[in-house]
Amino acid sequence: MSETTTAPTTNGHAPAAAGAGRAPLRWEYSPAPESTGHVRLRERYGHFIGGEFVEPADGAYAPTVNPATEEPLAEVAQAGKADVARAVAAARAAQAGWAALPGLERGKYVFRIARLIQERARELAIVETLDGGKPIKESRDLDIPLAAAHFFYYAGWADKLSYALPGPGAITPRGVVGQVVPWNFPLLMAAWKLAPALATGNTAVLKPADTTPLTALLLAEILQEADLPPGVVNILPGDGRAGAALVRAEGIDKVAFTGSTAVGREIQAALAGKDIGLTLELGGKSANIVFEDAALDQAVEGIVQGIFFNQGHVCCAGSRLLVQESVAEQVVDRLWARMQTLRVGDPLDKNTDVGAINSAAQLARIGELVGAGVEEGAGLRQVACALPEKGFWFAPALFTEASPAHRISREEIFGPVLAITTFRTHAEAVEKANNSNYGLAAGIWTDKGSKAFEVAAQLQAGVVWQNTYNHFDPTAAFGGFKESGFGREGGAAGLRPYVRQEA
């Protein structure tokens, strides 16, 4: 972890460089930890294949740990090729029957899943936070409700596919889909993948991330409770090798992957020449653009939300701040003051804003890139707050004078680190924003609607937020331009990758 700090050191609560001349708020919070009392994790989780938990073929298990304490939470099976083959066979066996169900009946199963997630929301939120390190207020208020909402939304499409996918050709499911999801929104990403696949009549093999398998395994219990026909969804925990085996497995008709651009590239190459559908939701280096006519306090909140939400472990994080020169000093001062009030620590505490970094490996990667930023000459400021002794932590940080050539401006840090640069004109803002291999998202802050839409139209980004950031909804398509991947999740568009339609 980088301890390089050029900023005045404070106790972490008093704004050190508050430029706005306002009296700083000073108060202490008592700990408000969420109780884990009613969470009952098993000691061991096998693979979920054919509607049942089964032992891994080679007996391999690995612990999943709480990144806030480094304590193991459970032992989880690690999928190998034999497990993948078994799961794909189970999905294949279930597919015809699942696809033959009338859409309304298929939808009813998916509605059940949504309802059961809502019923077990508290438990799922706690486990998500234990396993991944994200603040409980985020897992409770965003991850779990949105996961339920995605199932609810796509359940309603199951008997309306011809409205979503107009055209004369018959609509048929792809078949068996292999889905690999990341560790930053474990259950939510599983929902994004499974809900449209199920609604359209596919069966699935899902691989959760190796550091965050638990909510997917709780979802497996929910699928049992929902009486989902065996084999319709199979869940195989494991690491990158399991994912690599899954996307290359015989009998997979479509692959959906959310993760790094490097792995996405490998998958596309591995599937070369095969008639296998592919959607990729990859990395980003999204620009959050603040114009001088923006409501600056709101913009500062949006910047904070954009980069510190979920410790910055967000593919669409607003990790590059482009701020108009005339207000740059003001914005940075207010932002730095606001950052002092972020509460970093116990993810289970209901007041926590920034939780634990998901893994030691991710912490090392953040540290490496931040080191490169300092070396390349950008100005680092890192909040000097107290951090827990155990676990993986990185205090919120920003870089001023981040040049477009710096690695911190080009590479995805995937942590609570903001790279700030300035611009003078719209054209310069657009050029800088688009100066990236990525094209996932962008933010625009201005009080002038016509300008917001003008700039939005020029941005090479799959999602553009105007005077807000990091909003997600099942009805709104999400996905990237350029090397941020292809295909969309959410909305009617999210159904298309999961069907074939006659020409």
Partner: protein, 259 residues
């Protein structure tokens, strides 16, 4: 020996179970059923109008969940209803329409590529208060099918229940009354079509009429009365989407694009 307690059937207006203000009843399906009056129609329209804006303001997701909750409640109480035979079909209709609330915009709405620097978008908005006229012998599933479409689109409804078979519809009120449908969003009137229909068709605070009576003679009267305040009238065999489209207004918003 235990003496059974007989059920008093009541109208469902503004979220409350009320007798007809007229104090009249008819014997239908072997039991006493309130005979709704023109005043009951006016009360019901007033309740619907009061409730409609709040219903429309809920997120589409929330409205979908409320309709789904109504489906759950109806399925759970299937055995208590006067006509359990077609409860399954009625539940399935509610589930179907629950799925429409947050998809209407994707299917009916448009972004208009106008030949000028403007963002122009057209979105379906609820029409307002919809009068639903049921056929005299309609079964529960038909009643539910007729009222679920306007509800899914964000309207409030006043339903003239099947004149010769109102019990299932009145029972439905008791299900909706304990689900999450806000009071006044659904209002159910039993009575004689000859009294209720003209009053609804002529009421100036009704925006649209879903005429499921399949009665050509009545259609002339309904259309004539509706013309006074230019109500939309929807009738005939229609797909759910056709009904939803007919019960919404398309609103086009223009916004400039430019520095």
């Amino acid at each position: 020996m235990r003496v059974a307690v007989a059920k008093t059937y009541k109208l469902y207006v503004g979220g409350a179970f009320v007798r007809s203000e007229s104090g009249r009843h008819d014997v239908v399906e072997g039991t006493n059923v309130p005979r709704g009056s023109r005043k009951d129609v006016r009360d019901a329209v007033k309740a619907a109008r009061k409730a409609q804006a709040g219903w429309a303001r809920k997120t589409a997701y929330n409205r979908g969940q409320v309709l789904y909750r109504a489906a759950e409640a109806l399925e759970a109480r299937a055995g208590e209803l006067a006509a359990p035979a077609d409860v399954g079909a009625a539940v399935d209709l509610l589930v179907h329409y629950a799925g429409w609330t947050d998809k209407l915009h994707a299917v009916l709405g448009t972004i208009n590529p106008v030949a000028a620097p403007f963002l122009s978008l057209s979105t379906p908005e609820p029409t307002g208060v919809v009068a639903v006229l049921c056929g005299a012998d309609d079964a529960l599933a038909q009643v539910v099918g007729a009222l679920a479409a306007p509800l899914a689109a964000g309207n409030a409804v006043v339903v003239a229940l099947p004149e010769r078979a109102p019990l299932a519809g009145l029972d439905l009120g008791e299900v909706l009354g304990v689900s999450d449908v806000p009071g006044g969003v659904v209002n159910l009137l039993s009575g004689r079509a000859a009294e209720l229909v003209p009053a609804l068709a002529a009421h100036r605070d009704v925006n649209a009429i879903l005429d499921a009576t399949n009665d050509p003679a009545l259609a002339v009267d309904v259309d004539t009365l509706a013309s006074e305040s230019l109500k939309r009238v929807i009738r005939g065999d229609q797909s759910p989407l056709q009904r939803l489209e007919a019960l919404t207004e398309l609103r086009t918003v223009w916004h400039p694009i430019g520095a």
